[in-house]
């Protein structure tokens, strides 16, 4: 097993022999190394089951959740290489700094702004309208950063908001309860926004939750074009 060790300044692959077992994920391998041979190895995880999105890393060059990647599915000739996620600054070893990723979420107006309060009843809303379906289809993002790490446009253009933030904006723009559409459309149609996407579809290809950020971004482009024609933004 080759594991990238280092920090924001420099690093290199270090090689370890690890025992193979029947039930074993990449997170288990990393844990074994830290517990048994290299107590200083830094990695991040929390839930262990693909709900928190803390443990994503590059596994043989592909961004994946360590906790849900069975070793047998990725091992190549008895060898696996793991590195920190691409497109994020490294803190140490396999741990990345996600603060820019979340700053862009905010920049894309990725938070709900409703018109009602906690003292109002929950709104009666049919679950099968086209808008609600579009909002729902994009909702199960756990902000693991895999799409952001897979995106070539992010690596070329550091200001690009990236697929996760734009996917969230798309979900909100389809949420009939939200009152913030124009501001959000302006944010996502900005220089850093949806028009940067080249539809390479890496985000969609690698999303472990099978979301379609490329489709969401295409939707944003159409919505922004219509709003621009109308003179709304």
């Amino acid at each position: 097993m080759s594991v990238w060790r280092g920090d924001a300044n420099a690093g290199e692959l270090q090689h370890f022999q690890v025992p193979q077992q029947e039930n074993q994920t990449i997170l288990d391998l990393v844990t074994w190394i830290q517990r048994e041979t290299e107590p200083g190895l830094a990695y991040r995880f929390s839930c262990r089951v693909g709900m928190c999105g803390s443990c994503a890393m590059m596994i043989n060059g592909i961004p994946r959740w360590a906790c849900r990647t069975h070793v047998q599915k990725v091992v190549q000739g008895n060898q696996v290489t793991i590195e920190p996620l691409r497109n994020m600054p490294v803190i140490r070893d396999l741990v990345c700094d996600m603060s820019e990723f979340f700053a862009k979420w905010k920049q894309a107006e990725g938070q709900f702004r409703g018109g009602k309060s906690r003292y109002d009843a929950v709104e009666q809303l049919k679950p099968d309208t086209p808008k609600r379906r579009a909002a729902n289809a994009a909702i199960e993002c756990i902000n693991c950063g895999i799409c952001y790490s897979a995106c070539d446009v992010v690596s070329w253009n550091k200001s690009y908001l990236g697929p996760a933030a734009l996917n969230r904006a798309w979900s909100l723009l389809n949420d009939e309860r939200d009152q913030h559409s124009l501001l959000r459309l302006k944010a996502v149609a900005s220089d850093a926004g949806c028009h940067n996407c080249h539809s390479h579809q890496s985000c969609t290809q690698y999303c472990p939750n099978e979301l379609n950020p490329t489709g969401a971004i295409a939707g944003l482009k159409r919505m922004a074009a219509v709003a621009a024609l109308r003179g709304d933004i």
Partner: protein, 584 residues
């Protein structure tokens, strides 16, 4: 040892449902207050609120009522809950769910007419659990997280709280000593008030569900400043944790309740549906009953290769199971198991702490300036927590804490002086493993988990609890003599493993002591040598304190402030049998 000092009006420890709701409510009530959230992982990404599968109990359905929700909570908790807290929980859940929907943008599942969908959940007399598929926690915490991250407040991510620092008199909180895990530097965060919302998480058991960073730091810190902990013998086990061997972190994670509710079978190694021997409700009996039955079957030696039993769904039709439980089926498949068509090994797994700091319903506790909410607080659930009341508890009381903290510090202009001798002692404590020669920390972790599982687990006896306490004492001194191989403090997970173990052993001793003192079998606590539930009219709760390394357990009578055993706020026959079970 050097440390940096910061100041913030309010410091929130933890970023689950309780911590994030508190932050929102403080900022809404008093936008000018400086609020800091400090958390062991990333804000909103670590902790257990995110892992809620079932849903959120709220009396919003036509025909349901707060009183009925309350009675279900009292019956589920075996008359042990703090009744005013339980009532506050049930009342406020309504406002909180409306807040989640209307202000934060959660979208819970709807019926086809657009009204909220309420699902049935075990142990309740009404279908009142609102949910978002089987991933309700992700929806709640993601929406909370994006709101909080958009606010002007300070986030200390990957900061570990080491100690609550009171003033010299020991009656008010003044600061929290922390370590920045990324740099290894110590920080003293001085503050006017602190919310303890680190979550519980019984990860001291061989099989456990909570996220990996959970290690009872909150209750361990509370013990060290002399706070009282109640109901510490009450540890909830979930019957169906995934079992894949001890070398994989996936072991212990929950396979959801709904699998049993939908008609899943539990089978022993001979393929026998053993639950029929234990309870007429078979697999659909409550969590505690099923957990005890599986454990008993394991003790008989009727076990699967890894020492558990099997869950089997295939008789319901593999395609049907795949459709109904897509998330669970996919998770099992990623780990190499076929849940829809085959059999998956399962084992009971430690899930939730009903016990916690003794608090008032407004989240205040004995230490002025300290507030406690979520799993760190005891009282709302009594001897057993209903599925769906966990996330209700953290979000309800987190929000209340925010309101109360903002009001309490309005006009407080002075900063109390921390007891500096404590700061020194606590830094020394944290640095201890760097002074000792390197040893095998993982072996200590394994032994702790064995002790708790074998001697302080699902079925208890006085003899085993005594033995467990002796072993814990020697393990504790062994840990204090075990050092680290690596003296670099930067993102040193092994150092944090050591600190985690210290918190876990501290709290494990309290669990075992409380369990020893309760000589009856109530809710989640089962004594093979005292199988009677005891007199409900004379119900008491245990209260643990620690003075100079000695744990003291006292018994305090339950105050039936709203309803007495035998009475009900609901005028129908739903409550005739308090163990009655309804499942989805």
């Amino acid at each position: 040892m050097k440390y940096q000092t910061h100041k913030t009006d309010i410091l929130i420890l933890g970023s689950g449902g309780a911590g994030l709701f508190a932050a929102l409510h403080v900022k809404k009530a008093a936008p000018d207050l400086q609020v800091t959230i400090a958390v062991k992982g990333l804000v909103g990404k670590c902790g257990c609120t995110r892992m809620v599968q079932g849903g959120y109990n709220v009396a919003l359905g036509a025909g349901d009522s707060v009183e009925r929700h309350f009675m279900d909570t009292i019956h589920g908790g075996k008359w042990l809950p703090h009744q005013d807290m339980a009532m506050k929980l049930c009342e406020t859940a309504i406002i909180r769910v409306q807040e989640l929907e209307n202000e934060l943008g959660c979208f819970f599942d709807r019926n086809s007419d657009g009204s909220l969908h309420h699902k049935a959940f075990a142990g309740q007399t009404f279908d009142r659990t609102v949910h978002k598929g089987d991933l309700t926690g992700i929806e709640i915490i993601s929406r909370l997280m994006e709101q909080v991250r958009a606010m002007p407040l300070q986030m200390l991510e990957e900061y570990r709280a080491l100690a609550l620092i009171p003033n010299q008199a020991g009656d008010s909180i003044t600061a929290v000593l922390m370590v920045d895990m990324r740099s290894g530097e110590f920080h003293l965060v001085r503050t006017k008030s602190v919310l303890l919302a680190t979550g519980g998480g019984p990860t001291m058991y061989r099989y456990h569900t909570p996220s990996g960073e959970k290690s009872m730091d909150g209750l361990s810190m509370a013990l060290r400043v002399g706070l009282k902990l109640r109901d510490m013998e009450m540890v909830q086990f979930h019957p169906t944790g995934l079992l894949a061997g001890l070398d994989t972190r996936m072991t212990g994670t929950v396979l959801e309740e709904g699998l049993r509710g939908a008609g899943g079978y539990l089978l022993n190694d001979q393929g026998v549906r053993f639950m029929l021997d234990y309870d007429p409700a078979a697999e659909r009996a409550t969590r505690d009953i099923v957990s005890r039955a599986i454990y008993a079957e394991m003790r008989k030696g009727n076990t699967s290769p890894h020492g558990g039993v099997y869950i089997s769904m295939s008789h319901l039709g593999a395609d049907n199971v795949k459709r109904q439980f897509s998330g669970m089926v996919r998770r099992c498949a990623d780990c190499g198991f076929d849940l829809a068509g085959g059999q998956v090994e399962v084992v009971p797994t430690a899930h939730y702490f009903m016990g916690g700091v003794v608090v008032e319903p407004d989240t205040r506790c004995e230490l002025t300036g300290l507030y406690v909410a979520g799993e760190d607080a005891g009282g709302a659930h009594g001897a057993n927590r209903l599925g769906g009341n966990g996330v209700a508890n953290s979000t309800v009381f987190g929000g209340i804490a925010g309101d109360v903290m903002a009001a309490d510090i309005a006009g407080v202009n002075h900063w109390q002086d921390p007891d500096m001798s404590r700061v020194e002692v606590e830094i020394e404590r944290a640095m201890l493993p760097f002074q000792k020669s390197a040893g095998n920390i993982n072996a200590i972790r394994t032994r702790l988990m064995d002790i708790m599982w074998d001697d302080v687990g699902i079925l208890r006896t006085g003899e085993r609890l005594h033995r467990g306490l002796e072993k814990l004492a020697s393990l504790k001194s062994e840990l204090l003599d075990t050092g680290l191989a690596n003296d670099n403090r930067v993102f040193n997970l092994s150092w944090h493993d050591w600190l985690n173990l210290q918190s876990l052993i501290d709290v494990s001793e309290v669990v075992a002591s409380a369990a020893l003192s309760r000589e009856n079998s109530l809710g989640a606590h089962f004594r093979e040598d005292y199988t009677s539930i005891g007199s409900l009219d004379n119900s008491y709760f245990t209260v643990a304190t620690r003075m100079r390394d000695e744990i003291e357990i006292n018994k305090s009578p339950v105050v039936f402030s709203i309803v007495k055993p035998g009475e009900s706020l609901i005028d129908d026959d739903s409550f005739v049998d308090s163990n009655r079970e309804r499942s989805q």
